[in-house]
Symmetry: C2
Amino acid sequence: MRLRFYVLILMVSILAGTKSGVADEGMWTFDNPPVKQLQEKYNFTPAAQWLDHIRLSSVRFNDGGSGSFVSPNGLVITNHHVAFGQLQKVSTAEKDYVKDGFSAKTQADELKSPDLELNVLVSMENVTARVQGAVKPGMTEKQALDARKGEQAKIQKESLDKTGLRSDVVSFYQGGEYWLYRYKKYTDVRIVFAPEQQTAFFGGDPDNFTFPRYDLDFAILRVYENGQPIQSKEYLKWNTKGAADGDLVFVSGHPGSTERGLTVAQLMLDRDLIYPTRIARYKHQLQALRAYAGRWQEQARQAADEIFGLENTVKAFTGEYNGMDKSLFDKKTKEESDLRAKVSANAEWRRQYADAWDAIAGATKKQAELFKPQQFRSISTASNLASLARQIVVYVAEIKKPDAQRLNGYHDSQLEELKFYLFSPAPIYPEFEEAMLAFSLQDSADQLGPNDPWVKAVLNGKTPAQLASEVIRGTKLTDTAVRKSLVEGGEAAVNASTDPLVVLARKVDPFFREIRKQYEDTVESVMTSASEKIAKARFAIYGKSVYPDATFTLRLAYGTVKGYPMNGTKAPPKTTFYGLYDRSTSFDNKAPFNLMPRFVERRDKIDLSTPLNFVNTADIIGGNSGSPVINRNGEFVGIIFDGNIESLTGNFVYLEESNRAVAVHSAAIIEALRKVYDAPALANELEGK
Amino acid sequence: MRLRFYVLILMVSILAGTKSGVADEGMWTFDNPPVKQLQEKYNFTPAAQWLDHIRLSSVRFNDGGSGSFVSPNGLVITNHHVAFGQLQKVSTAEKDYVKDGFSAKTQADELKSPDLELNVLVSMENVTARVQGAVKPGMTEKQALDARKGEQAKIQKESLDKTGLRSDVVSFYQGGEYWLYRYKKYTDVRIVFAPEQQTAFFGGDPDNFTFPRYDLDFAILRVYENGQPIQSKEYLKWNTKGAADGDLVFVSGHPGSTERGLTVAQLMLDRDLIYPTRIARYKHQLQALRAYAGRWQEQARQAADEIFGLENTVKAFTGEYNGMDKSLFDKKTKEESDLRAKVSANAEWRRQYADAWDAIAGATKKQAELFKPQQFRSISTASNLASLARQIVVYVAEIKKPDAQRLNGYHDSQLEELKFYLFSPAPIYPEFEEAMLAFSLQDSADQLGPNDPWVKAVLNGKTPAQLASEVIRGTKLTDTAVRKSLVEGGEAAVNASTDPLVVLARKVDPFFREIRKQYEDTVESVMTSASEKIAKARFAIYGKSVYPDATFTLRLAYGTVKGYPMNGTKAPPKTTFYGLYDRSTSFDNKAPFNLMPRFVERRDKIDLSTPLNFVNTADIIGGNSGSPVINRNGEFVGIIFDGNIESLTGNFVYLEESNRAVAVHSAAIIEALRKVYDAPALANELEGK
C-alpha cells in the first residue's frame, strides 16, 4: 500500500475486537502481547524487558507513519514515503530533494524538518473505570457521550500538567477499554539521508501494493534536543544479515485504522455508500492534481506528495472495496450470528447487550443521510490554506468553552500539537491552493447540486473558480505571523477579519456545527453506547484473547518470512537486486521502471544477489509504514513499506494464506549506502562499526 | 500452459466459428487469413508468397506440438517439452538426456527419435461439396453420419494413392467446411540439441502457465531423408534481434482444440459434468504416477514425461473450469440469443436452421448418460501397453470391413501412421505399465461401482492389482515382433492368442463397441447434423469473416508484443536473464527454482540484459507449443511455449486485455548456445553465419 496512514477525510472510527485464530493475526497492544500464540507456534516468550526495548525503540511519525531508533545517537529510520512530505517542504524550485535525494556529508549538513513531530510511547495506564464511570444511570446517550469525552479531556489535562508529556486517552475494543498513553515528543528532527524518490518508489503506482518489489523505500533522520543529537539509549541494533525464509519476525508500529469489528450493518454502509462515494471523490481530486501538475515542472514538484498519497489511497480503497464481496459478508455474517447467539443464550448478557446490533443498524440509516453533506459541505478537503483558515475559526470558538466541552483536537492537552501545525513555516504555494480550492468547490457543487443551501451560501452567484481566485489571491494566511495574530486575537480578531478566506471559513462554520450536532445526537452517541455493549459482550465471551482494531497507536504484530500463492504461481519470500535490473530492463527502462543513473553506473559494484525486499505474514495496515521488522533478538532486520495487493482486505479481515507485509531488507540498505551512495560513515553508524 | 496438445482422453470435438471483433483474435486457416484486420489495424498485407513461405516453414509434431524449419539443412526448432517424450525414449537408466540435456558435437552424434512423425502442410483443397453431398434426402441422421464419414475415407484413400502424401480430410466450422489437407511426412528426425529439463522448465509446475517467466524451453532437431539431412528450401530466417515492445508478430502453429463455438447447452455439460469428472480423474492418475516415481530414481525418470504432461493438464483444465463463470455464460448466452434471433428473423433460415440448438441440447442429455461409461469402461487410459493391445484387437476387426465403414484411425489412408506407432521401438517399462494398469482398473471400479457389468467382467473376482500383475507379467506385447505378428496374423491370430493382455483387450471390446454405437446413434449423428446447420447459419449471417475452432491443423494467429495488467500491477512485455537469477536467488536456489550449475559458473559471461521470454497478444492454445513467432519480414524472432494464467479461458473465449502467448526470445537461444552451452557451430548455423 505504501503503508503510510493518509489521514484524508476522517471516518467515524468504531473500535472493535476480533477473535484471534491460530494464524499470525493481530495488531496487539503492548499491555496484552500474544504470549500464548508466540509460545505455542514459535516457542518464543517475549520477556517484559524485550517488550520494553521494542516499545521504546519505536517511533510514531505524527503525520502518518512509523519508524524506529537505530543508533545510540538519535538516528531514526522510516520510509522515504513517510519522510516525503518533509523532503518536499525543505525543497525549493531550485533544489528538489524529493527528485534528487539527499545525503548529509556531516551532521552540520543535516536538514531540519519544519513541522514534524515524533512520539515515543513511554507509559500506558488503564483508565477504563474512570471514563466509563463518568456515565451515570439515567443519562441520555448524548449526555453519556459528553460525559465520556469530558472525562477523557480531564485525564489528558491532568497528565500533561503533571508530567509535561503528550497525553492521549485512547479507546480500544469499541470503547471496551480506555487507556492513557503518554508520549515523549520530539520536534527537532533533521534529515540525514534519502534516496531519489524513483529509487524509493521504483515501479510507481502500478507496483504500489504489490509484490515482488524492488524498492529502497527508506530515509534516515536524526533527532535533536537543545541543538544536539539525542543519546537514544533504547535503539534497535542493526543486523545486516537480516531475516531468512521461515524466520519469526516482529513488526512494531502504528497501524492507522481497521474496521474488523464493524457490524454487518456498518459494513453494508461501507460497501453501498461510503466506499463508492469516496473513491469517486478521490479520483476527481487526482484529476485536478494531475491537471495542476501538468502546468509546468515546478507545479509538478509542488503537487508530487499529494498525488502520491492520493494514488495510494485510490488503489488501497479500490482493493478494500473489491474485497467486500460475498465471501467477506458470509464470513462476517456468520461471526456476528455466532456472537449474537452466544449473547442470547445467557439471560444476563441478553438483557445487557442483545439490543446493540439493532441500535447500530438503526444509526447507520441516519449516518447514511448525513454522509454526503458531511463529506461535501466542506472547503478544507483539498486546500491546505482553507484547512488552516477553518481550524483558526473553530479554534477561537472552542477555546472559549470549558475544556471538557470542546471538540476533539482543541482540548488544552492538544493545543501544543495544534499550534505546531497551525504555525508551521512549511512553504505554501498560492497557485496550488487556488487550484485545489476551485476543485473542491466545484466538486461540492456537482455533488450537492446548485440548490443546496451550503452551495448557495458559499458560492453566492460566483463560479467556483472565481471564488477560489478571489479568496486565495486576497488572503494573507500564507504568512505565519498573520495566522498567529488571529489565533492570539481570539474570536474578536477572527470575527473582525476581512481576510476573504477567513470570511469564507466563518461563513461555513454554522453548517459544520449543525451537521456535527446532528451526527453526535443521532449517530455517534448511539454507536458509542452500542459498541461498548458489543465490546463488553466480547470480553465476557472471549476474554482478552483478542486484539483491538487499529487506532494509530503502537502495536506489535508477528509472523514468518514466507512466500505465498500468487496469480497461478508462487511469490518468493524475497527479491534481489537482480530483480531490480530485470524489471527495469523488461520495460526498456521506461518510467516508472527507470533506474537512476547511479544504479546504471554502479551496477558492477553491487552484489546483485543481495536481498532487496522481503515479505512476512505479520498483520499490518496503513500507518505501519516505516515500522521496523525485528528478529527474536530484538534486532533491526528490515523496514515495512507496503502490503501486497492480497492484503488490501486487511481493513476487514486477516487472511494468512495470502496477506503479506512487504519490507526493505537491512542488507539492501547497507549495500546501497556503501556501493551506490558513497555513504560509508552512515553505514558504519548503522552497523555500529 | 506448456502449449503442447496433450491428447489424453479424446473429447467429442464440435467445431465452430466465432464472430471476430477488432481484437487480435483468431486462429486462422491459411486459405482465409485475416487480411482485413491486418490491413486496418497494422497496415500489413500478407502476400500469397509470404503466406506460402510461413506455411511451408511450419512443422507439425504429430505427438502434439508445433515447430518450424530454421535452416536450409533441415534444422527444426520446437519446445523442449514437445521433444520431451522423444528425449525420454532415447534415454536410459545410465544416460538421462532429459535431466542432463544433449548437444551433438557433430552431425554423426545426432540422436534418432524412435517414433516421431513430422508433417508439413503442402496443399489444401476444399472438399465440402463432396462430403456434404454424400448425404442424400431421406437419410436418417445415422445414415447421414456414415455417408459423410465414408466419403471422407474415400477422398483420403484416393489422394494417398494418387500423391503418396499423408492425406487428411479435416472438418472446420462445425462441419460447415471440409478440406483435404495433404502433408509431406518426415519420420527420420534426429535430436541435435536440448538444454537440461530444469533449464527449459525453470519454475516447474508453479510457474507453468504464468508470466513473467525465465525458461529456455526449446530443442533443436534435424530432419533426414535417405540418411541425409534434407535441404529445406523453405525455412524461417533467424533474427537474433527478435521482436520489441509494440511489434506486430505472427504465430504459425497447430492449436489442438478449442470450444468457442459450443452451444450454451454443451458448455453447461462441460461445466457440470465433463470438467469436474476429468479433473478428478487426472488428479487420481497424478497421485498414482507420483507414487510410482517415488519408488526409486529410475522409476522417477520413467514417469517424468507423463507427470509433466498431467500436471500441465490439471493446471490447464482447472484454469478453464474456473473460467466457466457467470460472466462467461452471460456472454455466451447473449451471443447465442443474438444468433438465434437473426435466424428467426428470416423465414428460410428459420425453416432450415432454427431447430439445431434444441437438437444439440437434447443430445447433450444422452451424452451425459454415456459420459461416465465412456470414460471409465476402458483399460487403456493410463497403460501404454494396454492401449497397444486394444488397438491391435480393434485393428484386426476393422481391417476386414470396407474402408468407408471403419472407425476413424483405421482407414487405409491412416494405416501407415498407425503402424508407425504400433511397431515403435521406443522402450516400454513393464513395472510402470503394471502400476498404471492397476491404477486405471482401480479407478474404473471406484467410479463405476462393483456391480457395473464391465467391472464384473473385467475383474472377474480379482483385485485390480492382481489382474494388472497377471496380465502385464504374462504379456509378450513388449516385443515389437510379437505385436507385428498379431497384426499380420489378423483376427485369427488375435482370437487364438492366449497372451493375457490380448485376452483382456478382447474381453472389453464388445463393451467398447456397444457404447460407441449408442454414442454414434444418439449423440454424434444428431450433433454433427445440428452443428452443420449452425455453421451454415453463421456463414449466411457473418460470411467467412470468422475463423473455425482449433482442430490441430495449421493456423495463423497475429498480435502485438505487449505487457498486460497483472495482479494489481503490470506484467512487462519481456523478461531478461537478470530475472532468471532473481527468481532463483529469491527462492534460495531451491527446486523448482534451482539453476543448473553451468548457469552459476557462466553467469559473468552472459549479458544479463538479454531478453529471455516475451509475451504477445496472438490467440493460441495447447498444440501451439513450439510454434515460431514471426515478424513482418517472415523471420524467426521467438518460439511460443506457453500461455499466461489469464489465457486459460481461451478454450471458450479470447480476451485481448489479458490473454498472452509466452515465447522464448531468439536472442536468449543464441546467448545460451554461445555463452553457456559452448555450441557456437549450432548458433552459427541458426544465424546463417
